[in-house]
Amino acid sequence: MKKVDETVRKETGYIAACTVILSMLTQAVFLVLGRWDISVLLGNLFCGGVAVLNFFLLGLTVQSAMQKEEKEAKETMRTSQRLRTVLLFVAAVVGVLVPCFHPVPALLSLFFPRIAILFRPLFMKKETSGKPEKE
């Protein structure tokens, strides 16, 4: 089995942490609105998990594509993207159609990695500002 790159592991961890925080926020919003039930939690967990898995698979693909030739890397990325879109499609359809999942948090969870990336520059600034400057 291939070893997972340190960068991929770190970024997936960041995305997973952000997904958990955003999921908790979604639960809180549903609780405040008085519409919370177990389907909200299940929908959130299911599609949030798929979103993180999708990001991890993207990371693995990027890792393996980096070691290939330019043309081969292109093909690998395209094939991976197609397969991952099918995975997301299946997850979204299951999230919408299966009654034990609430469709709104299910579909919303798929966008959590994107929202996490949106906040990424804030953390990156902190990381750089925390380092001592070289003279």
Binding site: E11, V62, K71, Q81, L88, V96
Partner: protein, 94 residues
């Protein structure tokens, strides 16, 4: 006449979902090109591998969101829209 109207609604929803999924082609091509260029960059400066990989990952994830929007629109058009539009039609007819 009513069956024809419902048929048109269902057909247009399916057509709309299909057209929306055309947006799924773009991210695949874009990601492929980005990774190819990243390979080139790492070949030139192998010491920047970690930084290039991080930027690549984030870039690919952002590019993929476009496809995800299309996917969600397509699913809503297939699953949710037909029922809602037929309800609107029925209400309009009375």
């Amino acid at each position: 006449m009513l069956e024809l109207a419902i048929g048109i609604i269902l057909g247009c929803c399916a057509l709309g979902a299909g057209v929306a999924m055309v947006a799924g082609i773009g991210p695949g091509i874009g990601e492929g090109n980005a990774v190819a260029k990243a390979c080139e960059a790492i070949g030139r400066q192998p010491e920047c591998k970690s930084q290039v990989t991080t930027t690549m990952l984030m870039g690919c994830a952002i590019a993929e969101t476009t496809g995800l929007y299309a996917l969600v629109i397509a699913i809503l058009l297939i699953v949710w829209a037909p029922g809602r539009l037929v309800d609107v039609l029925m209400t309009a007819i009375g």
